[in-house]
């Protein structure tokens, strides 16, 4: 009897895990991503395609701020040791609707840059494409191949706590991309 109970428990755990994995799967698609070497440094261009869920949109309309984070890692594979992480950086974009002035604000955390939009669509358009300096010039060795991983999604850590709980067990509040990997040959 105990054995059957245990088996049941194990099956349920498996079910929950698989659900979690399935739900974690993308509702954000990374449509394009590339790195250019510019004067200022290595610049990442990325474009995403996603739609806010109804709940999120509703929350934004009522003045609840949301934050999206892009995680970038540039990894140099090493056969003799663990891969070296050359660059590990993130950029967080916050979208906030001021119910008083009826403007949508999109601000880039840590940069002091802020934009004002009349419509949510305009604001989201900005968020859907990102460009950022990920490394200064000289940080990467020209001619070398690097693995770049890219991930984008709602930043749960910047949500208020009840939303975090929501985000745990409510698919409405989950918005993430799969990790995208590509090889970049440094210039």
């Amino acid at each position: 009897m105990t054995f059957r109970f245990l088996r049941l428990l194990a099956l349920q755990l498996l079910l929950v895990l698989s659900c979690g994995l399935a739900a974690a799967a993308d509702n954000v698609e990374i449509t394009s991503a590339r790195i250019d070497a510019t004067e200022d440094g290595y610049r990442l261009y990325a474009a995403y395609s996603f739609d806010l869920t109804h709940g999120m949109e509703d929350a934004i309309q009522h003045g609840v701020p949301l934050a999206f984070t892009t995680d970038v890692q540039v990894i140099k594979p090493r056969w003799y040791w663990r891969d070296e992480v050359v660059v590990d950086t993130r950029r967080t974009v916050r979208i906030f609707y001021d119910v008083l002035t009826r403007f949508y604000h999109v601000s880039y955390l840590g940069t002091g840059l802020s934009q004002r939009f009349n419509t949510l669509e305009d604001a989201l358009f900005t968020i859907r494409r990102t460009t950022m300096i990920i490394a200064p010039r000289g940080a990467l060795k020209p001619g070398e191949n690097y693995t770049v991983t890219l991930k984008m999604g709602i930043d749960r850590e910047l949500l208020s706590k009840p939303f975090q709980v929501n985000a745990f067990n409510n698919a409405e509040w989950r918005l993430n991309s799969n990790t995208k990997k590509f090889i970049y040959r440094a210039e």
């Binding site: 245990l6 002091g112 706590k161 975090q164 509040w173």
Partner: protein
């Protein structure tokens, strides 16, 4: 291992407490926990899972023990269930109440009225702001009209006037068609960053409409605020940055590029502050409203985790407590079982100062005493056994026969001597009646009669009732026995003390030898008297007969004289023979006492043997004399007579042999024998053996050969062996008479124990 588990549980308990505390604190709004709430939740869940695994393992172990009927598992299970119930039930009750409470109280936070009030407040703010915008637009429209009419040089002046006339005006800027600044008037503080306040392209587009662009907006500071996690921003700062922007197109003139007037006015501080409070409250309310499911889930998750941790902790603790409580009891129970099985070794003591510890100590003391008692019993039993064995061996080695009978004359016990004397081994037939042995009926009858007689005597109240009777009994030999004479026994019977169960004990001894000795003595006396009485008249008879012959010889006719001659000679010879016989008797009856002196037996034999040996092949005597024979103490004359008698007997025996028998043969051997005295010293004896291969003794003779007048010879007094025995006994020796076992023939062995002192070890 137990201690390790205990410490482990204490540590885990501490960790769980900390985690739970953190989780509970996380319900407050603080940035740190916002950030790590997920981790905290996961960690708690992981601990709960680990505890679950532990509990399941413990339960499985208990179940397996229970199933296999392991000793003590029932007690453990019961204690565990009780303690678990005590731990779980209150926790469950509190959990239920808390969940209900949390759900209801969270729901009660949100209701339509508050929401409506907040909406209304927001609307109010909008209305107020719109009104202010309308007012500013009116001012702007006036100013725009004025500027449009006035000379371009006067624009600065007009703008400055607009700036000063209205309160809270930040800047008034005249803009070109592309939004470039044509003229401006600004607050002193803002003059430096006037460029930042220029309108964006989309604003200008909107401003091109006749109504112009009019909207409130947050200041730069406000929009740049990074903190998302703090929606309740400082309302004063926010108020300062809340301003109104109005962009109006100047009335269109032909040939003139399109021009715009932008006015920026801060909202009055108190209004802005209030509006900001409403906005913040609205946002927060909405946020919570959206998150209330999450909030409830959060509380319930926290509570559930707490409950799970508490339950698993309770079950784990129940195991520990049950184990601790049950352990001494199990030790005791185990001990009891071991005692029941006979193992009295001390049990491990439970080192507690409470009653359980005392109990195990008492238990150990008890088993110790039991052990003592048992070993004492064991010792007593062994002592009794050895005493009994001693008694038994004494009984068995007694020369007298002992038979123990119960009240019905059934055999209870008998010793070995009984078998020897009665020729019946009664030891294996305990419980049988004494009467039931064939051949023993006379004995049994005599014994029974003797006891009943004694009983009758004691019943008659006779003055001299003895406690035992004594009687001489004759027991016939069993059929087919080699010996024909009855066994004579002297039996004594006595009653066993009533205390030991009424019964009888019969002790008897074979006194056939004693009787034989008595007979010898009696015969000796008779012989002596007869010899005396017969010898006296013999001489007168002989003398009278000789005188008759002498006197009548000449007077009788030759025939008569011849007759007389024959008669007297017969008389004389018979008298002489009779005299000889009487002398023999006398010698037997009172032979002179032996005079003991050192004597070389071999030399004596050497002296005698030539009389019997011819020195050729026909000799039948074969001496085998030990060369270094010790000297014995003996009377040479008497020893010589012994040797003569024995050799003569042997020779006589050989003459009676049938013709086809093997060659006659007599062995004469002497040797020194070493033996051990009862007191442990070694002694030496001399043995003389004469062995022939004649017909041997008839069984009838063998038993009584040493008695006088017992003989197998046609002629003979039967005194020979009697005399030999008497002499040997006077020499302190032993004589033995037996038939050879390895063939026909007799063997006579004489053992001389008295040796001459000097030669005792020679």
């Amino acid at each position: 291992m137990k201690a390790a588990v205990r410490y482990g549980l204490v540590v885990v308990g501490a960790i769980v407490s900390i985690l739970l505390f953190l989780l509970a604190s996380a319900s407050d709004n603080s940035g740190f926990f916002d950030r790590y709430y997920a981790w905290l939740l996961g960690l708690n869940a992981a601990v709960a899972a680990a505890l679950l695994v532990l509990v399941v393992v413990l339960l499985l172990r208990l179940y397996a023990r229970f199933k296999s009927g392991k000793f003590g598992s029932k007690l453990m299970t019961r204690l565990m269930l009780w303690f678990s119930a005590i731990g779980i039930l209150p926790g469950l009750v509190i959990f239920m109440v808390s969940v209900q409470f949390v759900s209801h109280s969270i729901e009660s936070w949100f209701n339509v009225r508050i929401e409506t009030a907040l909406d209304s407040g927001l609307n109010l703010s909008h209305v107020v702001l719109d009104e202010a915008l309308t007012k500013l637009s009116a001012t702007g429209r006036d100013a725009a009209a004025t500027i449009a009419r006035a000379e371009p040089e006067a624009a600065d002046e007009i703008l400055r006037r607009v700036l000063t006339e209205a309160p809270g005006m930040q800047s008034a800027i005249l803009l070109g068609p592309k939004g470039q600044m044509l003229a401006s008037a600004a607050d002193r503080a803002l003059r430096a960053r006037l460029k930042a306040d220029l309108p964006a392209a989309d604003m200008l587009e909107l401003a091109a409409a006749p109504a112009g662009y009019a909207r409130p907006e947050g200041g730069i500071e406000r929009e740049l605020k990074d903190s998302v996690a703090q929606p309740a921003t400082d309302s004063l700062d926010a108020a300062l940055s809340l301003r109104l922007r109005v962009i109006l197109p100047l009335p269109k003139e032909e040939g003139q590029p399109r021009r715009y007037l932008q006015l920026l006015q801060t909202v009055p501080a108190n209004l802005a502050a209030n509006a900001e409070v409403i906005r913040a409250a609205y946002s927060e309310y909405q946020e919570r409203n959206f998150a209330r499911v999450g909030l409830r889930k959060m509380y319930i998750e926290t509570l559930t985790l707490t409950l799970l941790l508490a339950i698993f902790g309770a079950i784990g603790s129940a195991f520990l407590i049950a184990g601790n409580l049950a352990q001494p009891l199990l030790v005791l129970a185990e001990g009891t079982r071991a005692v029941a099985e006979g193992d009295l070794s001390p049990r491990p003591i439970v080192a507690t100062s409470d009653e359980l510890g005392t109990l195990t100590q008492s238990f150990n003391a008890m088993t110790g005493q039991l052990f003592e008692a048992r070993s004492a019993v064991e010792r007593n039993r062994a002592a009794l056994q050895s005493a009994k064995a001693h008694l038994e061996s004494v009984l068995q080695n007694m020369s007298a026969g002992v038979i123990v009978l119960d009240a019905d004359f059934n055999i209870v016990n008998a010793n070995e001597a009984v078998a020897r004397i009665l020729q019946h081994d009664l030891r294996s037939d305990t419980g049988k009646s004494l009467m039931s042995f064939p051949g023993l009926e006379p004995f049994a009858a005599a014994v029974t009669k003797a006891f009943s007689t004694q009983s009758a005597q004691s019943a008659a109240g006779s003055a001299r009732v003895r406690t035992h009777w004594q009687q001489q009994l004759e027991i016939p030999r069993p059929h087919g026995s080699a010996e024909e004479h009855d066994i004579t026994v002297l039996a004594r019977g006595s009653r066993l003390p009533v205390g030991a169960g009424s019964g009888y004990i019969v002790v008897f001894d074979d006194i056939s030898d004693v009787i034989s000795a008595q007979r010898s003595v009696a015969w000796g006396e008779v012989a002596r008297r007869l010899a005396h009485e017969i010898k006296n008249p013999l001489t007168p008879i002989q003398l009278s007969a000789e005188r008759l012959q002498m006197k009548l010889e000449g007077r009788l006719a030759p025939d008569d004289a011849g007759l007389l001659e024959r008669a007297t000679s017969t008389i004389v010879s018979q008298v002489a023979a009779m005299k000889h016989m009487v002398d023999d008797f006398r010698d037997y009856a009172k032979s002179p006492p032996a005079v003991l002196s050192p004597l070389n037996l071999n030399a004596l034999i050497g002296e005698i043997l030539p009389l019997y040996l011819a020195g050729d092949e026909s000799d039948v005597i074969h001496p085998a004399l030990a060369p270094d024979l010790p000297l014995v103490l003996g009377d040479a004359t008497q020893m010589r007579q012994v040797l003569h008698n024995l050799l003569q007997n042997a020779q006589d025996a050989l003459q009676e042999r049938p013709a086809e028998a093997p060659r006659a043969h007599i062995d004469l051997t002497t040797e020194a024998i070493h033996y051990t005295n009862p007191d442990g010293r070694t002694g030496t004896a001399v043995r003389l053996a004469i062995v022939d291969n004649g017909p041997g003794f008839a069984p009838k003779i063998l038993a009584r050969a040493f008695e006088p007048y017992v003989t197998s010879k046609a002629r003979g007094t039967g005194l020979g062996l009697a005399v030999v025995k008497k002499i040997v006994e006077e020499h302190g020796g032993k004589i033995e008479l037996q038939n050879r076992t390895d063939g026909p023939g007799a063997a006579i062995t004489i053992l001389l124990l008295k040796l001459a002192p000097a030669s005792s070890l020679a």
